[in-house]
Symmetry: C2
Subunit: 423 residues, 2 copies
């Protein structure tokens, strides 16, 4: 058994209440409570795009290219989603986002982005450049034109969503990108990457995104956890491309990695000194995918039920996996891939909620971790002579209630002492 601790994420700090003249509020009865984690506990927000758009009068654009529950079930899911997660990944799969050239699905995604932001949820866009789901209309274009169109698409999305989406998977799955061949006709992005090389393709995505979004956080994302991804990262960094975080997928359809493999993987990728984002995390509550499948997309049985035993296993593995990830100081985000089995990727029972809308044990277990074990429950305290109370909590947003009024404060990642002026 590996000893896992996320105690480095918890800070014992001091919150001091002051009057506007600087004098301490001593001897006051206060209640301190946590409002939000700074750590990105994320999930996909695909299921709520139609719902959010409908609220501002925009209709659905039809079936989605990758998951997303229907609108009726989405309404019931909202509360469950918002009670655990603080960061949503929004879908920018190009073939679905712009099925006809020049007619991007911008308004619907803008509505969804605003809907989440109004609910205190941070956003990540996924992905700006990817070979899979490159639009069909791009395939017939000449080489140079493809590059121009890809560059323009990156600038358009980052620019349009500036102020709403502050993190992007700038480019996805570059290790396989130029040699991807699990398709009938070669897509244009694979052709581009094969022609100009992986690193120039990465540079293209990062530079264009950076050119219109000075403050955005740009992630290099991949499913390939082998040394190939290390080699790619080293080449990208050596070429001077500014990567803000390394994205590691972990769709565990073929089985839970376990603590040892997970920690070894984190160690290998943490050695570049960049934050790690676990961008796509899934654990199944049903039968596993056979181990011989290489491209997960090649296994999509007609039905793939969630089972009672599977749900117990999933709950256990979800908790173990989050404990493992949060124990490593380099991890700054964990994004689970799917709130519900309805419309889940590949039809797999990867959701935290069953298709009928009821939470699985994994949902409850994850909620307990994030909102109880790792969360500061409302705590009644009395300030000392300096107007101070001791508070131990994770970095994030808090409030201190005094004389019937709540005042916000923040515990910073370094756990520095906090002053709250109340007047």
């Amino acid at each position: 058994m590996i000893a896992l601790s996320s105690s480095h994420r918890s800070h014992a700090t001091t919150v001091s209440l002051r009057h506007p003249d600087g004098s301490p509020w001593s001897g006051a009865e206060v209640t301190v409570r946590q409002v939000r984690h700074a750590f990105a506990f994320g999930n996909i927000g695909f299921d709520f795009v139609d719902l959010a758009a409908a609220e501002v009068g925009i209709g659905s654009n039809g079936p989605h290219v990758f998951g997303g529950a229907d609108r009726d079930s989405a309404e019931r899911l909202v509360e469950l989603w918002l009670d655990v997660f603080n960061t949503a990944t929004l879908p920018f799969y190009w073939a679905g986002f712009e099925p006809v050239e020049g007619q991007p699905d911008t308004e619907r995604l803008l509505a969804a982005a605003r809907w989440f932001r109004e609910r205190g949820v941070s956003l990540k866009g996924h992905p700006l450049v990817w070979h899979t789901l490159a639009p069909d209309w791009l395939r017939g274009r000449a080489d140079e034109e493809v590059e121009d169109v890809v560059r323009a698409r990156v600038r358009r999305e980052v620019g349009t969503f500036a102020g709403l989406i502050d993190t992007w998977d700038a480019i996805n799955e570059v290790v396989i990108m130029p040699v991807f061949d699990n398709e009938e006709h070669q897509n244009a992005v694979t052709r581009l990457c094969r022609r100009i090389g992986r690193i120039p393709t990465v540079r293209l995505a990062f530079e264009e995104a950076r050119s219109v979004g000075a403050g955005v956080r740009l992630v290099l994302n991949d499913f390939d956890m082998s040394t190939a991804y290390e080699c790619l990262i080293e080449g990208v960094l050596e070429a001077g491309i500014q990567v803000d975080a390394i994205g590691l997928q972990s769709h565990m359809h073929q089985g839970y990695w376990g603590e040892e493999r997970t920690l070894a993987t984190l160690e290998r990728f943490a050695r570049y000194g960049l934050p790690l984002q676990m961008t796509e995390t899934t654990l199944l509550s049903g039968d596993l995918m056979p181990p011989e499948i290489e491209d997960l997309n090649d296994f999509q049985p007609p039905t793939w039920p969630s089972t009672p035993e599977g749900e117990e296993r999933q709950a256990d593995e979800v908790v173990r996996h989050y404990r493992t990830l949060l124990s490593h100081p380099a991890v700054e985000a964990v994004n689970y891939w799917g709130i519900t089995d309805r419309g889940a990727w590949l039809g797999a029972p990867a959701g935290l909620v069953r298709a009928d809308g009821t939470p699985k044990p994994a949902y409850d277990a994850l909620r307990r971790l994030i909102k109880q074990e790792w969360w500061l429950a409302p705590t009644a305290l009395r300030t000392d002579d300096h107007g101070s109370v001791p508070v131990t909590g994770w970095a994030g947003d808090y409030e201190i209630e005094v004389a019937g009024e709540a005042h916000p404060f923040t515990i910073a990642p370094d756990g520095a002492p906090v002053e709250v002026v109340v007047g």
Copy 2:
């Protein structure tokens, strides 16, 4: 069945004989014969190092770190080796070459290098930097010191052997280098590579070698044929490191790759526009290694015999493999890894000659290809009014005999017409 052709390597050219005054030797009876291939048909020369050294009075340095037949059998092997191969790889495994710091095995290797050059054989040194067989005495050194010692070693070997060894595997197996852990105590080169990164380690090897050997050909060599190696190469090239050729190992102890996989591999690595060297080619004439072995070094049975059926299979596969490799225009060298089963790497029956010194069918088959099918046999011709004869042959060294005297000429890689002045 894939149609394989190496016809692009054969040039229909014209050789014109001239008197010193420029007038044509017309109507002369001549014989044209090939002397040497320009293409590097290589093999390891490990087996002859002791033999060559003994000829100049230098004794053996004891058991070798990697293969090498004993001296008695080496004497019988010389003729077989020289009849097929024109390029020898010499061993510079650091732990064996310099078992005690400051006492390198230079004189013995210089004797071997001279021995081969006197016999018209080109040389390659293998390898300058590698984590496996890094010397034990290096392990205790501080980080910065390790880097200095590695740099000095690269300069020393390339400088000392200048004019004898014109090609080096500058660095070996970088994909796995920083994460290599199949050893009890971490070696110093893995530690260095992990600390400074793969690309700086590659740069170190290439820059130091280039600094003392302006004309040397430097090869990046790896056994990893996956996308990881592609990613490494792209990073190295993007970083501006001048790589002269990409080295691809192909120890097929677990089975022949087949034409399709071989061609696909060549295509993937040829797209960088650099020549390809097949640096380490083996095909067994006995049982194959089980497929589940990951590090070939982990399988070394007490006996591993060559069998009659295995020898037939090996002969067939050697011919098919060489045909496949030579069909690809990017391939400039094929180095077979072992002339004899005696002292062969891992004890495997990978040699072209049995341990008892008799040639296997693969030897005869390979000789037929290289010295018959792809070779211009002595051909009697009569010069025309311009003193010319048509000659069709591969790039390489030839001679034309006229009036009882042989005169050398060369067919260049572009097959340009040749003039020979005879006076």
